[in-house]
Symmetry: C2
Subunit: 424 residues, 2 copies
């Protein structure tokens, strides 16, 4: 390295991959700038618990600067990245340019509506903290509003029908958690007929949780139905105007309508759009193609990891958009940046280690596939809780989330049922 | 009471007074409807802790329906009250009319800008949960934004000057808590010059905390100044355009300007405006005049309590707008409604018991006046914490707020520093 000038590493995105990369490089003589739209790291796997009033925002959001209190060489630049000028080595943001020597794209994913504008406009996404709060506020408000429409069953039923689209972990967890929220509302809305309340889960394919073994998929549907979720497979959403959702039944070819004021869209993700402006090749999902060393276009100075990267080496499909992938890639990228800075030419490749997958369906119920073994029921649920608790950022949240889960389990309440968006 | 028809008691407002009234009447053969714009009871005394990222929303907001799980005769009607038609005995709301046999006005107070439109438009109020969240988001954002303006000291200083207007408990507590938030930001903004950060407290009178004995007022100013708050007494705000605040120095008559992007207005309250449409006489602060039995216009069926009522009997000024007044009035009103229902003609009068007053100025510092005694420092602070903890609704919050306070005390952090209103 020439002179005193310390290399400047810019990391776009403070998700699992971005934070991990910064942590692994923070002790080196480098200056690190993290660019993020938000000032917090979000624990996305528990977003559905905010949307269903189990947890509060603080518990799954952790101030980014808190991670780097002791690292004076790590800065947050709170801005929206808009692209990368590879020639001039600068990141373009809505607050000006940020120069880099090394760049790590860890910007994550956003909701994919597959071009359906009507659905995008009227349904609720499930990717940001704000969206989770919108869902919470809206769902709670639907009960309050339905409660005031004593004389109009049609309006009431439309308000009390909650549709979740997408049979991946997010959709399954959201649908399960909604039924439990409803069980609690039942105790407090003394004059509402809860036979009018419905949770419907729509999935385009013939199965839920595609990453799970077939037996666990069936178990999941069975448990969801047992909890009162109306699971409809092979159901492809076509349109939603805010009042009526239309889908096509893949078996009969029929078009079916569901009157509902609440559609939660968990049916797909794509890389955040600015990734297309970073000078690399992107796939259909907008993810930037990386080589085995996690580099973009074999550039030793530009890397991409996590949900915004397409890593397809030795696998048929790109690695899944889950935290363990991002974190393993972060380790490889940190190592490679160190090597390049030290003038080494042989870089590390990712050797992806599958840590299995899990999804929770509700109180005491989860499914888990790990090293060829399959688990469901209470043990899987306890494991799910443990894994999520230890990964949650901040000792304080580890503690309060534990207490809150135990409290909710014992007393069957959800103290987060606060509607915060009412205009004065 | 005639036939099976149960008397319908309507309570407007689920603050301290409203909830207490409902609780005291819930076991009678009556139907109670609580009308509130929100679905939660707000613990207003700790609002300043949400605005300074100490506590999260759930911890000071408690779902109203939670109080009445076991009382099937108590309903929440979530709506904005707009007036009362005393002839027809109905409350007018934005969701239609609600008929009553007995009515309790417990609708509380809102911010009083004393007709200054420019201040109302650009400053932050401190009366609702949403306002506290706006302050939190805005203050945190100011640090992030100033941090990006490396080359413009004027802009940076304007962003880092926080003005609190009003030397009552809210203003004092907010100013003290802001300095502590700044101490924590100092640890994490490694490249910001904290000499540029200022907290200014403006008070129109020559003193703060008017309800306190003179010695404690002086002590409060001394402690605030020791914490770095620039306390300016006899300073009357005249205008604020969002960038520059103008006030008149009451001693010199000079007009002083403070460039600031943050003005928090805690300088006055008035009754919520609809109180003027309830068919009773109101005072200058919009509060409805009540007799010794807390009735409006000696009507045995209409009562008013708390911040929206003017109770001046045996005192020179109306009773203060604090929780103990509302709760003592609630007990009187509940008793009187019972008596009227039973056909008794001699009603209860309020015998107000002054429980003293207290205000916290920051970590380990508070002032307290109680039964002619004066306390300041750690003992007053510990008492303040204890009193607020036991009054907080819900055992769960009692517990987590205790834990959070201890945690913050020990580790000097504020985990609520989450900016939640960034547009995608």
């Amino acid at each position: 390295m020439a002179e005193q000038k310390r290399p400047r590493i810019v990391i776009i995105g403070a998700g699992f991959g971005g934070v991990k990369t910064a942590q692994l490089l923070a002790d080196l003589p480098v200056d690190i700038t993290i660019i993020d739209r938000h000032n917090f790291h979000l624990f996305q796997p528990l977003l559905y618990q905010v949307s269903t009033a189990v947890l509060d925002t603080d518990e799954i959001a952790y101030p980014i600067r808190c991670f780097f209190r002791k690292n004076k060489n790590v800065e947050l630049f709170m801005a929206k990245a808009e692209g990368v000028d590879r020639e001039r080595k600068v990141v373009l943001t809505n607050h000006g340019e940020v120069p880099y020597d090394y760049l790590v794209l860890a910007a994550g994913a956003t909701t994919n509506y597959f071009g359906m504008k009507s659905v995008e406009e009227h349904s609720y996404g499930m990717k940001t903290l704000q969206e989770a709060l919108h869902i919470r506020n809206h769902v709670l408000h639907m009960f309050e509003r339905a409660n005031k429409h004593e004389d109009d069953e049609e309006v009431r039923r439309r308000m009390l029908t909650f549709v979740v689209v997408g049979g991946g972990p997010t959709g399954v967890e959201e649908a399960g958690a909604l039924t439990e929220l409803i069980d609690i509302e039942k105790k407090e809305f003394h004059h509402l007929d809860f036979n009018e309340v419905k949770v419907i889960l729509l999935e385009g394919m013939g199965q839920v949780l595609p990453m799970m073994p077939p037996k666990l998929r069936e178990e999941t549907v069975r448990v969801l139905r047992g909890k009162g979720v109306d699971v409809r497979l092979r159901s492809q959403v076509q349109d939603y105007d805010g009042k009526v959702l239309t889908y096509k039944n893949g078996e009969t070819g029929e078009t079916v309508e569901i009157p509902s004021e609440t559609v939660i869209w968990a049916a797909g993700v794509k890389a955040v759009p600015f990734i297309a402006n970073c000078g690399g090749e992107v796939d259909r999902g907008g993810r930037i193609i990386v080589d085995e060393e996690c580099r973009v276009g074999s550039d030793n100075c530009v890397y991409a990891i996590g949900d915004c990267a397409n890593y397809t080496h030795g696998t048929e499909r790109p690695l899944p958009t889950i935290a363990p992938v991002a974190m393993q890639q972060a380790a490889v990228v940190a190592e490679n940046i160190k090597k390049v800075m030290n003038g080494q030419t042989s870089l590390e490749k990712l050797h992806y280690k599958d840590l299995g997958s899990m999804a929770t369906i509700g109180r005491s119920k989860a499914v888990m596939a790990w090293k060829g073994m399959e688990f469901s029921g209470f043990f899987a649920w306890a494991s799910w809780m443990f894994v999520h608790l230890i990964r949650l950022a901040g000792t304080y949240s580890n503690f309060t989330v534990t207490v809150k889960w135990i409290w909710n389990f014992l007393f069957g309440t959800r103290l987060g049922r606060i509607i915060t968006n009412i205009k004065d």
